[in-house]
Amino acid sequence: MKAFTYLTPGSAEEAVGLLGQHGPQAQVIAGGQSLLLAMKTRTARPSALVSLAGVDDLAGVRLAASGELVVGATTTYAALSRAPLTGWHTEIAAVAGNLADRPVRTMGTIGGALCDAGPRYDMLTLVTGTGARLEVLGPSGVRTLSPGEFFAPGGGTTLAADEILAAIRFPAADAFTRVVFAKFRQRTFDAALASVLCAARPGNGGVQITVGAVRPVPVVATAADPEAVAAEVLDAAGGPPLVQYQRELVRTLTAQTLSTVNGS
């Protein structure tokens, strides 16, 4: 770890101001579960850390008047997994409660995962597959992005150096009749090797299938059956063994989630 300046703003606006003041070498720290590991090995070398720990209104889960579920960016996985949710929103809590290990869930935040944008993180698949909207706060105020706008196509995010992710707005509880997430990882505490989210819209809205962990950002499939989804996301055949394996996993997980969605 290299020496750095630790800054503790009391509000989101102050945090944005500090980021502007300290330039691109400053970095936001929320739960620190990825950043601290990178700093320990000196692969990340921020000159300043702007901690969001003291910014109370960035944490917490609430229902907006519109029915949207607003999850503050610094809400920990542990808090999210315990939130009293209803309808398909319960799947959000279920995903948050079944990733990484207990210490990581206790410290790690949903916003931290999205800003770190690790392709194998479950949260990326969750926000993409449910069409959540991401509230970003910058010097000129708030802008709201779709996942497609928030994640850069080749990986990472489109956030500017002086912007922070403030909240994630999930569609209302009646937006989907059922949402099912499934993933595969070799060990319980590992990140996913493949993940699939099936979201069923009411009426004849159909089922939307999203595949995560196999591309730099999650892919919303246009195909509707497991074989075609796998081929769409990872080509029909060939590739190195890992890709061949992920194709099989996508097929299995798609079939599994589709069957659960259709079975309800």
Binding site: M1, K2, A3, L37, T41, R42, F184, Q186, R187, T188, F189, D190, P241, L242, Q244, Y245, E248, L249, T252, A255, Q256
Partner: protein
């Protein structure tokens, strides 16, 4: 005389002196469970400074220059060292354990980098962060060379030489040692065999992965010229003697002490460059130097299990009796290795058990590659060999139409009398392996499940025997020692140099002493291993604690008991034969509630020496050293290298998910014959831990190198060691008693029996579940699923992975196998050596 206090009934009726055999809670656990144990990184000495090592980021390179001038000027920097600074000033090491004329290990790479992570330079600074900053200021000019990751590439005739600096006596090119084993007549066995199964197998590299990192604190006293080294090691005298030799200073001027050692598994059973580097810094600066490695450094430059490729053949008669075994082994020792060649010798010798195979021929090439050093790791070559041999047994059973359980039952050692000498030369002094085999198979529901198979579920068996202690071929010794002192308050101090690092020596030795000396268990303390105070012993490895160290302790206890009784007989004016000892006192037999307290007797021996028997040597100390009656390895590779052998019969039930390839071990039974168990709680823990390391070896762990020799998974995030959720309920652990006849207390080793059979048992179960025979390790979900798909695509009933995969480039069938690379210049007729001798 006051009234005798009331004593509870169970106390008076409790059999005296029988702590051995009981699950006494471990003395070690309070400090460990409350976080108060002090490990190497917790050591803080006045004026201590911090050192860090610059390691190579390439695997194979010629060193043009290492420029440290800028680093010297960095804030807080006190000293900088690199390879050129030490040439001619320190002695290379590795000769003692490898039986070489000169050593092949140096503190830093000098002319050439041989593997990623090798030491290039080091900095000592006021803080560890300043030391890390200064490492970044060191300029390297390296000419990168092609790296050899695959040992079969490294032994090709046109391969470039990796170790250029040393000529190995038995080596040739990148082959630095050879192994030959000859028993009986293998050609005749092959000609007469009813069935011969042949298969190429390979194994993986596995890390020790001790949570407590490797590291040391070196402190040189400029006035007394004494160097004190705190080190997280398994053997204080191997560190002391080699370190003193490397530094060319007297051995009594080097003091090695261990703090709490948070496991080793064999990975801390030697000296490492960081111990030399920290010592040199401390000698130059006159200040204590802290040098503790990070996890990536430990993965890259600690020792890892040697991988092997074995072209193996098993021969049987029509009844399934094993009549011959032959293989050609390529044994990957990494770029350098203190213990690696021994792994092939001992692992193959002992790995033949529990079968008494009459005809054997093994040719092994022990090879350098540009990868992490190979070395000792739980099982010491036996898990690798059992993985091969026990899968061949299943293949032979299938060919002969025999049940794998029956095939093993016909072959495991079951002599009419003990000791029994095998054709390999092992002296088996007791075993219940036949019963263990049936016990574990029954516990897993072998017969019932075989009659009613469940899709994608399978059962597998494997048997092995692990050596207890070892007389290493290059290292003709197998001793441990204990000194006991009865203190003047009636407590007892045990001094031993064999480091306890998970084996519960403080508990186990106290049980022996309590029984022999009649001292309360709670009054016995094990002193920390310290080369200034501890008697000379080899250290803790090779499952030798209970049997070898335990025997030394038993002998010392007997000697101390004799002294105690001699004084008591004199004071009581009684015959020593009429006295007994227990409940902290010596008493006349039959009168246990009277007698002389041990503290009084010990006080006499120290402070009232006129009351001692005439000619009695004062103070109450006794020392004993026990060296095992083992043999050196013969020129044909045979011999009894271990004092006794612990059998393990394991049975696995696995379930394979055909949608993801995930393999779960859903049930597992282990039966062992660990002899007289001193503490069943400790032994059960050893078996569970041993199983876990076997599980990691078969289902996930490996050093994943790219073609340039970069280790791509050098962190616990990416290195797939099993975690708690991967372990089945381990409730089916059985001990079927078979006391050693050689060890006075009947003990056998427990630490490694749990590991050996696991990869093979799981591999056999995976075949039973899926029809896929894995010939390489580890078996990952990815490989499992791709193998299943390829097998289905080709409509095959059975399938080998990776041999039958489209992309496999190795030899698929025996006719494609390489001939063993044999030296043509050794001038020795290996097939008729007896005539020559």
């Amino acid at each position: 005389m006051t009234q005798t206090p009331h004593r509870p009934a169970e106390h008076t009726t409790r059999p005296r002196g029988r702590l051995v055999g009981q699950s006494v809670p471990r003395k070690e656990d309070l400090a460990l469970l409350t976080g108060t144990a002090r490990f190497i990184d917790d050591i803080k000495l006045p004026g201590m400074v911090y050192a860090k090592i610059l390691r190579s980021e390439v695997a194979h390179a010629r060193i043009r220059s290492v420029e440290v001038a800028a680093a010297r000027k960095m804030p807080g920097v006190l000293d900088v060292l690199c390879g050129a600074d030490l040439v001619g000033k320190v002695k290379p090491w590795g000769d003692m354990m490898q039986d070489l004329l000169v050593g092949d290990h140096t503190p830093f790479a000098v002319d050439k980098v041989l593997y990623e992570g090798q030491e290039l330079a080091a900095v000592a600074a006021q803080t560890k962060y300043q030391a890390l900053d200064a490492l970044e200021a060191i300029e390297l000019d390296l000419e990168e060379l092609p790296a050899y990751v695959d040992p079969e590439e490294a032994i090709k005739p046109d391969a470039a030489l990796i170790q250029e600096g040393i000529t190995y006596e038995f080596g040739d090119g990148n082959i630095f040692d050879r192994y030959k084993l000859r028993v009986g007549d293998i050609e005749a066995a092959e000609a007469e065999a009813a069935a011969v199964v042949r298969q190429r197998f390979s194994t993986n590299r596995q890390a020790g992965a001790a949570l407590d990192p490797h590291g040391c604190v070196a402190s040189f006293d400029s006035f007394t010229r004494e160097l004190t080294v705190y080190s997280s090691t398994q053997s204080i005298y191997m560190v002391r003697d080699v370190l003193a030799d490397v530094l060319q200073i007297p051995r009594n001027k080097v003091r090695v002490i261990v703090p709490e050692v948070g496991a080793g598994f064999g990975s801390k059973a030697q000296i490492f460059p960081y111990e030399v580097i920290a010592s040199i810094f401390s000698m130059r600066l006159g200040r204590p130097v802290h040098l503790v490695l990070g996890r990536k450094e430990i993965f890259q430059s600690g020792t890892a299990r040697n991988s092997q490729i074995r072209y193996a053949e098993l021969m049987c008669d029509r009844d399934g009796h094993i009549t011959g075994y032959r293989d050609y082994t390529v044994h990957n020792c990494g770029a350098m290795s203190v213990w690696g060649n021994q792994v092939l010798h001992i692992g193959t010798n002992v790995g033949m058990l529990p079968y008494a195979i009459p005809n054997i021929r093994v040719d092994g090439n022990i090879v350098h590659t540009n990868t992490a050093p190979g070395g000792a790791l739980r099982g010491f070559g036996i898990p690798q060999f059992i993985w091969v041999k026990e899968q061949l047994v299943d293949m032979a059973a299938a060919e002969l139409g025999l049940d794998p359980l029956e095939m093993r039952a016909r072959n495991v050692i079951r002599p009419e009398s003990f000791p029994f000498r095998t054709p390999m030369g092992q002296v088996i002094d007791s075993t219940t392996v036949y019963d263990c085999l049936h016990k574990s198979a029954a516990a897993i529901g072998w017969t019932e499940t075989k009659a009613n198979p469940v899709p994608y579920e399978g059962l597998g068996l494997a048997v092995s025997m692990k050596y207890t202690s070892c007389r290493h071929p290059s290292f003709d010794t197998d001793l441990s020692a204990v000194r006991l002192r009865l203190e003047t308050d009636g407590t007892v101090t045990i001094y031993s140099s064999d480091v306890t690092h998970g084996q519960a020596h403080a508990t186990m030795l106290a049980q022996i002493v309590a029984d022999g000396l009649g001292v309360g268990f709670e009054k016995i303390t094990l002193a920390r291993p310290d080369s200034v105070t501890s008697p000379f012993g080899l250290g803790t490895y090779a499952s030798r604690g209970a049997a070898v160290l335990g025997t030394a302790c038993r002998l010392a206890t007997e000697r101390l008991r004799e002294k105690v009784l001699a004084i008591a007989a004199h004071v009581l004016e009684a015959n020593a034969d009429d006295l007994d000892i227990g409940d902290d006192r010596v008493f006349v037999k039959g009168l246990p509630d009277s007698g002389l307290y041990l503290e009084i007797l010990a006080s006499l021996a120290a402070y009232r020496t006129h009351q001692l028997p005439p000619g009695f040597e004062p103070t109450m100390e006794a020392i004993a050293t026990y060296d095992t009656p083992t043999e050196r390895e013969g020129p044909d590779g045979t011999g009894n290298l271990s004092v006794t052998y612990s059998a393990a019969a394991h049975a696995a039930r696995v379930r394979v998910d055909p949608g993801t390839g995930l393999i779960r071990v859903v049930d597992y039974a282990m039966a062992h014959d660990t002899g007289v168990v001193i503490n069943p709680l400790v032994v059960e823990g050893q078996h569970q831990g041993g199983f876990l390391m076997g599980l990691g070896m078969v289902l996930g762990e490996d050093y994943v190198y790219d073609d340039e020799g970069h280790l791509t998974n050098a962190s616990f995030k990416d290195y797939l060691a099993p975690t708690s959720t991967d372990v089945p309920e381990l409730t089916k652990i059985y001990e079927l008693p078979a006391p050693s006849l050689t060890i006075p207390g009947g003990q056998k080793g427990a630490g490694e029996s749990g590991t050996g059979p696991v990869p093979a048992a799981v591999g056999n179960a995976v075949f039973d579940a899926t029809g896929v025979r894995f010939t390489s390790l580890p078996i990952t979900p990815q490989q499992m699923l791709l193998a299943l798909r390829e097998k289905d695509r080709r409509g095959l009933a059975t399938f080998r992975y990776p041999d039958d995969m489209p992309g496999f480039t190795g030899p698929r069938e025996p006719q494609d196998w390489p001939e063993p690379l044999l030296p043509d210049d050794m001038g020795f007729d290996w097939d008729n050596f007896e005539d020559e001798l």
